[in-house]
Symmetry: C2
Subunit: 190 residues, 2 copies
């Protein structure tokens, strides 16, 4: 799962071995909570296999605000970065295979690799992409109707619909499960 990095950058191979050794592989069942709202995150995860969601409570309902799949990284960004309590819970939706690394070790990797211009550029790209991702999410909410957002989801991220229970998708779209069910009926040719 880390071969993509190894191939991509001209860092000496043994350095990659060293870094990859700092990751720990774990297998966990569905509905495993990796980080609880209020706790301070000190692990970042890479997903080898499976699917996770990040969510939080709001008036005794849970609101999902992001899904994660294979080859993506996941952490409670602000909590992990600033060592403050997380406002989200991270939970597996399927049995998953994950690789985690501690904050201290990741910081160490960062410090070293950020000296290398190429790695730096790569890191910046990732940060800009993530910023753009959230910006477009925000934009879609002020611009589109729930029906339009559902249709975009079908078009752009069909894998989410296939693997994630509908109730979680509803809150991700900013609506109730009942409303999503109505929209689904409407768009499937009344």
């Amino acid at each position: 799962m880390f071969d993509q990095f190894r191939e991509r950058f001209p860092l000496l191979n043994h350095k990659w071995d060293e870094y990859i050794d700092l990751y720990h592989r774990i297998e966990v069942p569905a509905k495993t909570i990796l980080l609880k709202e209020g706790e301070t995150s000190n692990k970042a995860y890479m997903i080898e296999k499976g699917c996770l969601r990040a969510w939080f409570y709001r008036k005794d309902k849970d609101i999902t605000f992001q899904f994660f799949f294979e080859n993506e990284g996941i952490s409670s960004t602000e909590s992990f970065r600033k060592r403050i309590p997380s406002f989200i819970t991270i939970e597996t939706l399927e049995p998953s295979v994950l690789h985690w690394i501690s904050k201290d070790n990741l910081d160490k990797i960062m410090e070293e690799t950020m000296e290398i211009p190429e790695m730096r550029k790569w890191m910046m790209d990732i940060l800009f992409e993530r910023q753009a991702h959230y910006m477009h999410q925000f934009l879609s909410l002020i611009r589109d109707t729930p029906t339009e957002r559902y249709l975009s989801l079908i078009k752009d991220k069909p894998h989410i619909l296939q693997r994630v229970p509908q109730q979680y998708i509803a809150s991700y779209l900013g609506i109730t499960p009942v409303s999503l069910s109505r929209i689904r009926k409407k768009v499937s040719g009344h």
Copy 2:
């Protein structure tokens, strides 16, 4: 306006002079369009005085998705970074004093300063903060009602309400001007 940077970082003073010379000061009236939807951005701006908004068309209505004030930087991020057409228009709301720099020059500054660990850390912080900003915007839209969002705006960013016409705030909240007017009436004690 650049003194904040000069004081903050131990870069030799003459380096700052050199960088600051790459900025051009301009004074523009209200409703000046600095970048038009579809054009490729090659300038980034710093705001010395005034107030701007970023917006785009949607079904012949304009939708505002961000406001900018004194001491903030503004550009069509993706357009500027990737040299692709911008999907937003940038426009002054008040007569403003701005400082702009070309992409080439800013790239040059970046390349040099990113070698310095302290500057790098600062840059990373900025990128993370911006990511967190959009994330929270997104979150607020799937979590809160328009009324709640309006109340947060009063509480957290009262300066926006004081300086920006209501119709623009409405689309920023994801609702119509009529609806915002109703909400205002409701929360001001029926």
